[in-house]
Structures are given as structure tokens and as C-alpha cells.
């Protein structure tokens, strides 16, 4: 009983419950949802694997976003940076019909991730150095970014016929699982390692709670904020590789569209407060997988891609309301008046 109470009050409670509800819903209503089989050429295949595969780019994005939000900032340019990264990698490899790359793929991949980092550095400069509000600073790149991506691809959709390019989002021959899962796992491990072995996590949290106090205690606040945005750019760059490899093309208008919303939603669902401070990497990862499951479920129910934002917008507002202090106060007052001990989360959801 004590353990259960500890679990319900922990930050992972909400994302895990949401994921579990979605999985149970799918298992009941979608045929063969839990079915995983081995194909003839030795790959695991099934809906669960598919969800993991598709959620990996979102997992990576939400890693960067978690740090940004923890410093009480926001990065709404990630979707556009994904488009830029996709444009860079496809332009470097080139759209030759005979499948011969114009530049080595490793170089193209490095260039794409590099482009993401450059975008992140730009955001970081504006926010950390020029002290511009994060929303507005990243809004510049959110709109201009797609223009830049279009400029690179000259308004065309570049299709890449080079075979190994599809391995990024598919499977490398001989492997059981899709490559994206390994990439995402590697990124998560890197972040966890940094958190456990260095004090970066503590610095980020401290800056998010009180930048002035952090400065007086000797933390280089400008540098921390700058690095956080640069890292978010790096994550968006890696995500762009996966997104472009998935369709084997660079589509400047649609690559990473609405992904900023998904990433913010994943972080919020993971228990990180949007006002900054304490953050939960594990929560964000589970949050991202939950969002992808939600997307897949909605598609299965026949909701189209352009109608989906309605559901997600309602989810964001609901989570914001649950997290808000004022809402807690109102609920506490209500509870005191009615003297009915109840589960706070449940009531807040109803209210939202």
C-alpha cells in the first residue's frame, strides 16, 4: 500500500498510466496489436516495434526539449530545424537516379547534424546573450527555418535513391531491430551518463529555478542556457536524419511539421513543469512513446493527420491545468469545503 502511494505521487505516474491505458485500449480494439513476428530476412515485425521505431525521433527531440524547458525556456523551432537537417542530408547525398551519392553518406550525416547544432547555437545566442524571450527568439527560426530549407532544396522535394540512406530509419541487414531504436537508445544513454557522472543536470535545474541565485553561486548561467539550446539543435539535427530517411526525401514544407508541439507535449506529460526547474528525462522518454502511441491509435481510428492536432491541443491544455499551482489551490479549497479525500489527479482531469 505504501509502495502504491509512493508510485501514484511520483512523476512517472501520469505518463505510465497514460501509456498503459492507450496500450490496453489498442490491445482490445486493434487486431494483432501485441503480435510480434520474425520475418524471413530476420527482422522483428509488429505494431509495437513500429511504435517504438516511429517514436524514436520524438524521443530524441524531447531529450533536447526537456533541458530547454528545465531552464524555463522553450524551443519552438525544432520542427523547422528538422526540415533544415533533412534538406542538408538530402542535398549532400543528392537525388541521382542511379543511386550513386554525390558525397559520402557519413559526411552528409555529419553536415546535417552540424546544421542542427548551428541552428541551436543561433537560438542559444539570441536567448542567452541578447536576453530575448525564448518563444520569440525561436519563433524567428520556426518560420525562417522552413524558408531556408526550401532555399537549399530550391523548392523541390529531393528524393534520395542511395540505398544505405534508408538504413537509418530501416534495419541494417543482419540486425533484428530498426536502427532508429539504437540511435534513440544511444542518445538517451548519453544524456543519462551526463546526468549521472557530471553536474550538468544540477546546473540546468538550478538555472531553471532561479537564474540570479545560480549566478551568485558561481554558475555560468549564460553558458548553461547557451549549451542547452545548442543541444536541442543537435537533437533536432539527429531527428531530421531519421525523418528524411523514413521517406527517403527532403520535404521542406512537411518534414517535422507540428513536431514542436509533440515534443512539448511529451516533456509536459513526463512531469517536467513548463515553468522550469526540476526535470525528468525518463518521464520525457515515456511521454514521447505515449504521444506516438496516441498518434498511431488516432490513425487507427480514422482521424486524419491534419485533424489530429485538435486531440493533442486538448491534451496539452489538460496537462497544463493539472500542473498549474492555481488549479491545485482551487482543488484544495474545494476539498476542504467538501471534506472528501479523493485522488487529486483524477479530479483535475475531470475539471480540465
Amino acid at each position: 500500500m505504501e509502495k502504491l502511494k509512493q508510485f501514484t505521487s511520483s512523476s512517472l505516474f501520469l505518463p505510465i498510466v497514460a501509456l498503459a491505458v492507450l496500450l490496453i485500449f489498442n490491445a482490445v480494439f486493434v487486431d494483432g496489436f501485441l503480435h510480434i513476428q520474425l520475418t524471413e530476412d530476420g527482422r522483428l515485425y509488429g505494431r509495437l516495434i513500429d511504435i517504438l521505431n516511429r517514436s524514436s525521433s520524438l524521443v530524441i527531440l524531447s531529450l533536447g526539449m526537456t533541458f530547454v524547458i528545465a531552464t524555463s525556456g522553450i524551443d519552438i523551432s525544432v520542427g523547422a530545424v528538422v526540415a533544415i537537417s533533412a534538406a542538408v542530408v538530402c542535398t549532400f547525398i543528392g537525388g541521382r537516379g542511379d543511386g550513386i551519392p554525390e558525397h559520402p553518406m557519413v559526411l552528409a550525416m555529419l553536415a546535417a547534424v552540424g546544421a542542427g547544432v548551428v541552428c541551436g547555437i543561433w537560438n542559444g545566442l539570441l536567448v542567452a546573450k541578447f536576453k530575448i524571450q525564448a518563444v520569440v527568439a525561436t519563433l524567428i527560426l520556426m518560420t525562417a527555418g522552413r524558408g531556408i530549407a526550401q532555399l537549399m532544396t530550391e523548392g523541390q522535394i529531393i528524393t534520395v535513391y542511395y540505398k544505405p540512406f534508408s538504413y537509418i530509419s530501416g534495419t541494417i541487414p543482419g540486425n533484428i531491430l530498426p536502427t532508429t531504436i539504437f540511435i534513440a537508445a544511444a542518445m538517451v544513454l548519453l544524456v543519462v551518463f551526463l546526468m549521472k557522472k557530471t553536474s550538468i543536470g544540477l546546473f540546468v535545474q538550478s538555472v531553471g529555478i532561479n537564474p540570479t541565485a545560480s549566478r551568485f553561486s558561481g554558475i555560468n548561467v549564460t553558458l548553461v542556457i547557451f549549451l542547452v539550446y545548442a543541444f536541442s539543435g543537435l537533437c533536432a539535427g539527429v531527428s531530421g536524419l531519421i525523418e528524411s530517411s523514413l521517406i527517403r526525401a527532403a520535404d521542406a514544407n512537411n518534414a517535422g511539421l507540428n513536431m514542436e508541439m509533440d515534443a512539448i507535449l511529451a516533456v509536459a506529460l513526463g512531469g517536467t513543469l513548463l515553468s522550469g526547474g526540476k526535470f525528468y528525462i525518463g518521464g520525457s522518454v515515456i511521454g514521447a512513446i505515449t504521444i506516438q502511441t496516441l498518434t498511431t491509435t488516432m490513425y487507427a481510428l480514422g482521424v486524419s493527420a491534419d485533424q489530429l492536432p485538435v486531440v493533442k491541443a486538448i491534451a496539452v491544455i489538460a496537462i497544463c491545468l493539472i500542473q498549474s499551482k492555481r488549479c491545485q489551490e482551487i482543488f484544495d479549497k474545494w476539498k476542504a469545503r467538501h471534506m472528501q479525500p479523493d485522488n487529486p489527479e483524477e479530479k483535475a482531469v475531470n475539471k480540465a
Binding site: 522553450i74 519552438i76 539570441l126 541578447f130 536576453k131 530575448i132 524571450q133 518563444v135 520569440v136 527568439a137 519563433l139 524567428i140 527560426l141 520556426m142 518560420t143 525562417a144 522552413r146 524558408g147 531556408i148 526550401q150 532555399l151 523548392g155 507540428n258 508541439m261 512539448i264 513548463l274 515553468s275 486524419s304 491534419d306 485533424q307 489530429l308 492536432p309 485538435v310 486531440v311 493533442k312 491541443a313 486538448i314 496539452v316 491544455i317 497544463c320 491545468l321 498549474s324 499551482k325 492555481r326 488549479c327
Partner: protein, 343 residues
């Protein structure tokens, strides 16, 4: 030197820079392209940007209280779609459809404002969610383009109002000018306007002064919602369609125009005529691209982004300069007083 200092610290410095930039751009246009001289080119700026002018006025109100409204473009698209759907698929007359969509837009703005103020949430996250909500809702109504063929509405859309025999403007442009005038009067000469400026300057002191902070903040987002819906009507008068992707990225254009026109993103400072020139500068850039003929549309996005960036950084410098000036002048004031007291 003192003159320069005072000029930079002046309330209207951004406005002067914007007007100067506009005149330079226009002069370059006249020198480069023959057709730029015609007065109609100038009137077209108002006709083409009527919707943006109206939306920008709404955004300026939210920026004034140090908030933001990212949902304007999506509300505009939703308004166009609802208008088209009501008139074409259900046969409602424009006299009913237009007030109906205005009410929906205003109510949506009020709802956003209420949530933001009541629960003390960040405006950008709620309005970002609002943006996705409205875009999604537009797609729910129809995923295809609905064109408006109501004869009365088309008649209004193609009406031309002559200006001193030099050219003509559209109904939308007249509405936009009216909105500008009303907004300037409200902000400059009414209790509400003063309260908005006070909240933007410092919310807690406004609250301590006994100003109705809660009511005003909700009202500001309501005004923004109303302006977005009105902008949507002006937009539909130009496009005569309802489509899911109408006004994509317009929130950025509106914020950019407002900032270029001298609105401080930290709240408390805005100048409505400046906002107009902010929009007109974007219009001139678009006209350049049309006249040039070979440049692609995405250049607008990049140029606006760059322009916004320059103006925001300029603002940062002006603010720093002002605080330096004020600290200097307060030093000058205090030293002579202290002098005789300590012989």
C-alpha cells in the same frame, strides 16, 4: 551627442527608424521599377495586407501586456473556413454568417484569456495549443478548399472605393483603417488603454493601484480573438475560399510587424501607427518580390525573419542604453544633493 542620446531614448525612436526604412524601401522601389510610382501600388499595400493589419493590431494588444498570441493565424483560417462552410454548405446568409464567426473568434479569444489569467499559465503554451486546436478544427470542418460564391459576398469582395481619383481601395482595407483608428483611440485616450499600459509596465504595481488586472487581461485576449476573426473575414474577402492552410505562419508576420513598428516584447510599449508601418514594410518587400519576378516566395520568410531579428536586437540595445542613461541621470541628481550635506 546629447541630441543623439535623447533621440535613441525617445519613445518614438523605433517608429522613426521604421518610417525611415519604409521610405527608403519605397524610394529604392521607385528608382528600380517604373511601375512603383503609380499611386495604386501604394493603395494595393493596404488592400493586400488588410487582414494582416487587423490581426497585428490584436497581437499588439497582447504584446503590450507582455503576453503573446500565437493562435491568430489559425483563428483566421478557422474563420475563413466557417464562413465558407456556412455560406456554401448550409446556405446561411452573409448577414448571419459574419456575426456568427465574429462571435466564435471572440469567444475563443476570451476562453484562452480566461485560462491563461485564471490559472496563471504561460500565454505562449496555451495559445500554441489554441493554434493547433483551430488548425485541426479547420481540417475537421473540411479538408478540401471550399470556395465562396455567395453573390452578395462576392459583390462586397470586388467593391472598389475610389480615393481622390488616384486609385481605389477594397472594403477590407477600409475596415483595417477603421480598426487602426479605434485601436489608437482606445490605447491612447481611454481608461482601458491606460490600464493595459500600466499592466504591461508592471503587473503587480498595477494590481496594487487597484486596477482591474484580471478583467483587463482577459479582455486583451478577447480583443485579439476578435481581431483575428475580423482579419479572417478580411482575408476571405481577398481569397474567397476556406482552406486549412490559410494564414499559415501569420502569427509570425503579425508579431514581426508589431515589433518592427516599435512594440517592446517585454510589454508596456507600443505605438499603433508604428504597427501600420511594420505591416507596410512587409508589404513593400512582397511587392518587390512580385515586381522582380524571379525571386521565390520563401525569400519573404527569410527576409522577414532577418528583419525581425535586427529589430529585436536593436530593442535590446535601446533598452540597455536607456537604463544606462537613467542610471547616469539619477547619479547626476544625487551627487549635488549629497555634496553640501557632508562638508
Amino acid at each position: 551627442m546629447k541630441f543623439v542620446n535623447n533621440l535613441i531614448a525617445s519613445k518614438y525612436f523605433s517608429f522613426f527608424v521604421t518610417v525611415l526604412l519604409f521610405m527608403i524601401l519605397y524610394a529604392v522601389g521607385i528608382m528600380t521599377y517604373k511601375g512603383f510610382m503609380r499611386p495604386q501600388v501604394f493603395f494595393n499595400l493596404f488592400i493586400d495586407n488588410a487582414a494582416l493589419i487587423i490581426v497585428t493590431v490584436g497581437v499588439t494588444f497582447t504584446l503590450l501586456i507582455a503576453g503573446i498570441d500565437l493562435s491568430v493565424g489559425a483563428v483566421l483560417a478557422l474563420t475563413c473556413m466557417m464562413l465558407a462552410y456556412l455560406m456554401e454548405n448550409t446556405g446561411v446568409s452573409p448577414a448571419l454568417a459574419v456575426p456568427a464567426v465574429l462571435v466564435v473568434g471572440t469567444a475563443f479569444g476570451a476562453f484562452q484569456g480566461y485560462i491563461i489569467t485564471k490559472f496563471d499559465l504561460q500565454p505562449f503554451i496555451i495559445t500554441l495549443a489554441g493554434m493547433f486546436f483551430c488548425r485541426g478544427l479547420t481540417a475537421v470542418i473540411s479538408r478540401d478548399t471550399i470556395s465562396i460564391s455567395n453573390p452578395f459576398y462576392v459583390g462586397i469582395a470586388s467593391a472598389r472605393i475610389g480615393v481622390f481619383g488616384l486609385g481605389f481601395v477594397s472594403v477590407g482595407a477600409v475596415v483595417a483603417l477603421l480598426v487602426l483608428i479605434v485601436a489608437a483611440i482606445v490605447l491612447g485616450y481611454t481608461k482601458l488603454g491606460r490600464t493595459i499600459f500600466a499592466i504591461g509596465g508592471n503587473e503587480s504595481s498595477a494590481s496594487l493601484m487597484g486596477l482591474p488586472v484580471f478583467k483587463t487581461k482577459v479582455l486583451v485576449y478577447t480583443i485579439s480573438g476578435f481581431c483575428s476573426a475580423l482579419g479572417g473575414i478580411a482575408y476571405s474577402l481577398i481569397m474567397l475560399t476556406g482552406y486549412n492552410l490559410h494564414g499559415l505562419g501569420m502569427e509570425m508576420d503579425a508579431i514581426a510587424s508589431s515589433v518592427i513598428g516599435g512594440t517592446l516584447l517585454t510589454g508596456g510599449v507600443a505605438f499603433i501607427p508604428g504597427t501600420l508601418f511594420g505591416v507596410l514594410i512587409q508589404g513593400v518587400i512582397l511587392t518587390f518580390i512580385t515586381f522582380q519576378g524571379t525571386l521565390s516566395a520563401w525569400w519573404t520568410k527569410i527576409v522577414i525573419g532577418a528583419l525581425l531579428c535586427v529589430f529585436i536586437i536593436m530593442q535590446a540595445f535601446i533598452t540597455a542604453h536607456k537604463s544606462r542613461l537613467s542610471s547616469k541621470s539619477s547619479l547626476e541628481q544625487t551627487t549635488p544633493k549629497n555634496g553640501p550635506a557632508n562638508p
